[in-house]
Amino acid sequence: MNIHIQHGHLIDPKNKLDARQDIFISLGKVVGIGHAPDGFLAEQVIDATNLIVCPGLIDLSARLREPGFEYKATLESEMLAAAAGGVTSLACPPDTDPVLDEPGLVEMLKHRAKQLNLTHVYPLGALTRQLQGKELTEMCELTEAGCVGFSQADIAITDTLVLFRAMQYAATFGFTVWLRPEETYLAKDGIAHDGEVASRLGLRGIPAIAETIAITTILRLALETGAKVHLCRLSTREGVELVREAKTQGLNVTCDISANHLHLTEYDIGFFNANCHLKPPLRSQRDRDALSIGLADGTIDAVCSDHTPVDDDAKLVPFAEAEAGATGLELLLPLSLKWASEQKIPLSAAIARLTTAPAQILGLDAGHLSVGSNADICIFDPQHYWKIEAKSLISQGKNTPFLGMEVAGKVRFTLLNGRVQFALSPTGG
Amino acid sequence: MNLSMPENPSQPENPPTSQTLPDAEILFQQLAEKLKPLISADTALVGIHSGGAWLVERLLPLLGANLPHGILDVSFYRDDFASRGLHKENRPSQIPFAVQGHHILLIDDVFYTGRTIRAAMNELFDYGRPASITLAVLVNRGGRELPIAPQIAALEFPLVSTQNLQLLRHEDGRFYLRLEQEVA
């Protein structure tokens, strides 16, 4: 189908486009920017007056909960949520049930996702079998099945020798190792940042050194093995500092943070709000500010939703017993826009953290709108204010610390491979 | 002693105003005179917090400084707890003598519905079984809602329900009455 997106403000950080430009799409590809190719006949015209047109967002971490946790969410519900959030590509961690440690499971997931065809799904394979941190998975086979990297999700490898070997092996084939830095023993049984709030509320703490010690170990191992490392969900000021130093020294390392941690601190736990039970824990204001600065100066490459749909029953228990995680696919864009407006970051720089940077980390030719590129496009209204409520979310996960908050930025259209996969109904739903 | 229940003073046609209030000090002297003949070896005075307690304090020198005496705060026995909650300024009841076998003179300032007296009697019985209870008040303003009435009152002073009569103390301890009219 030929689509003409007209009168929109186009932002494409990779091509340094930030102007009013029309886009022309044919056969799933961008065929023209600014002016139509010869003989182009639009079958559909999308009026993007007062809207921003940008590459579809790329989310580095979204749990779709399949297989194994279909009572929390299904592929279908979460891919719809992704489309509603303007996300056209997402990486999903391997902590499903069963764990994504066998090629067959990955193929099945890819196949299911492709059938639904709402967003591109890029699975991360398990780095070790069952995520147990003991035996390596068949990384080559898994890559062939569709894995774009290898991860331990939230379960850190305790045995440093195993981690060393896993990184050596991944480095052999040039695979990226995705690690959330957390020293197991220091974080053991912890549920909140080991700071003032945890002390007051009597919650077991996870100290900042649990992250920095792990980062130090991982970076030394990366230096030693030459493995490409992506550090997931940084949460501490000192952690950002370590990455900044490593990058200055030329180490091949990237990192991301979740949109939750860009805005929230330990104080948001309030009176034991289980929606603020997250991994890693919400940290101090100083940490939050350092994450914000790190994201702005590029030390932190990307911001992700860390989308983790949790069913109500798993949250309707005391704070420590509540399952960690929050819904996020539909909040990634507005929360990133909120950050940009609060920190006076140019919109294109913010969008780069959601498109160009994550595409690079995933090794994808995506996240830009050049002639010939895949027509994965997000069209949003930056002035559309809406209230985050259970009923306003498509995801099956309704729990988020931002419930009740009003945010600006609502996706109007999401195009995947040149087809409109999501269009906001006039009533806003 | 006349043990028949006094009539509930009927609703007055022309309710008194603050200008026509009697002198509380004179009423107090009259109350003391009425009580004197009732004092025996087994008498004990119990004042209901707060007006009744003030009266007991000043009655003691007149009736016998060595009389056993105490104070009741009926907060824990009130029947309006469910609707009004616990009185914020409750204070401990103090009955430092054995209630068992004593003839109790129960003293309050203004008698109205009888509900406070009901609560006070219930509380007294939780301390022991008195030989008798005699209710004496400074003013009976009428309007009782229970089959309870003072045997002794210095003054029968019928008021309407929108009026509120209070016993108060000057700084030097002298009593005076205040009448408040509820604004409809």
């Binding site: 002390s199 009597g202 009176f271 228990v317 005391p318 | 824990f76 300024e89 301390y127």
Partner: protein
């Protein structure tokens, strides 16, 4: 953020934590408790305030001692009392906390006394029960044990009425202690100017000084001139391990003996929330000595719990 313990009129609706309660409410509870102290000394130790009400003790974590004091308090207010040791029944069968609570509400329970091993459990229940239900926290994880904190300050006030001129030392395992947190909040709210915590670094929460206390690691230094010594209980499982090497060494460094107590003010009182580990945190000679007010604490505990229940039951929706 609304204080979940207060209703719209600022009345106490639940007692979940001392933190965040205004001084006026703390004083109201303590003053009312004074009235209840007398009730226990009467022929009939009951008042009819909670007649017809049902108080339900739900203990997800067993504690016969605390449950008993709440039970006595409720019964002295003429309430009917239902005891449920959930640790041994429904939860073991997989029933959720809210299911357990809602079942009891369906049986017309009016007030819940809750103990749970997780911090925040009482808040959680209070946030999810029907508006006419009152919740009292009888200890949640390491977070709070407000009635214990209140009875401790009640005891202190009885012996040392001038709260604005006091030095109080808390000794021992502050890290795991909900009692310590409650005491600290109660003391600071009531205007006690100097609160010290004395413990090894392994038994102190991070940034404990932000609670308004001064930190001491040396007991001899910390006890100098204090008016109140509050000993904290050390759980058995923490005596040998990564937190402490042994009970013997702990007693030597942080156990309260006559000799160490002599460093405090001569009129200092000694308190302990119980149950005591004699010879671990406190020497028997001190526990049973003339400065100990450990048994009065227990007595006052009932009056304080009666006061809390009476005030809660009297608050409007």
């Amino acid at each position: 953020m609304n204080n979940p313990q207060l209703n719209q009129d600022g009345q106490l609706k639940h007692l979940l934590s001392i933190e965040g309660l205004p001084k006026a409410i703390l004083k109201q509870i303590l003053d009312t408790a004074e009235s209840f102290v007398g009730v226990a000394e009467r022929e009939v130790k009951k008042v009819p305030l909670l007649r017809g009400k049902t108080v339900c003790n739900i203990f997800f974590e067993n504690s016969t001692r605390t449950r008993t004091t709440f039970e006595i308090a409720a019964k002295r207010l003429s309430a009917d009392v239902l005891n449920l040791n959930v640790g041994t029944s429904s939860q073991a069968k997989g029933e959720s906390i809210l299911d357990t609570v809602n079942n009891l509400i369906a049986m017309h329970a009016d007030m819940f006394v809750v103990r749970h091993s997780q911090s925040g459990a009482a808040h959680f229940i209070a946030q999810h029960v029907a508006p006419h239900i009152h919740v009292i926290n009888a200890g949640d994880g390491r977070h709070s044990h407000p009635t214990q904190g209140l009875l401790d300050v009640f005891t202190i006030r009885r012996y040392k009425p001038d709260m604005h001129n006091l030095r109080v030392a808390l000794v021992g395992d502050v890290l795991h202690s909900r009692v310590a947190r409650s005491e600290i909040h109660a003391l600071t709210t009531l205007g006690v100017p100097e609160i010290r915590v004395i413990a090894p670094k392994t038994l102190l929460p991070v940034q404990v000084e932000k609670l308004g206390v001064q930190v001491y690691h040396d007991m001899h230094e910390g006890l100098k001139g204090v008016d109140v010594v509050m000993m904290l209980r050390l759980q058995n499982e923490r005596m040998n391990g990564a937190l402490l090497p042994s009970a013997q060494e702990y007693f030597k460094t942080y156990g309260l003996t006559q000799e160490k107590l002599a460093l405090a003010h001569p009129d200092a009182i000694v308190m302990h929330p119980g149950p005591m580990n004699r010879g671990v945190e406190i020497d028997s000679a001190v526990a049973d000595g003339s400065q100990s007010v450990i048994l009065p604490q227990v007595t006052y505990g009932i009056a304080v719990r009666m006061a809390v229940m009476a005030i809660l039951a009297g608050s409007t929706i």
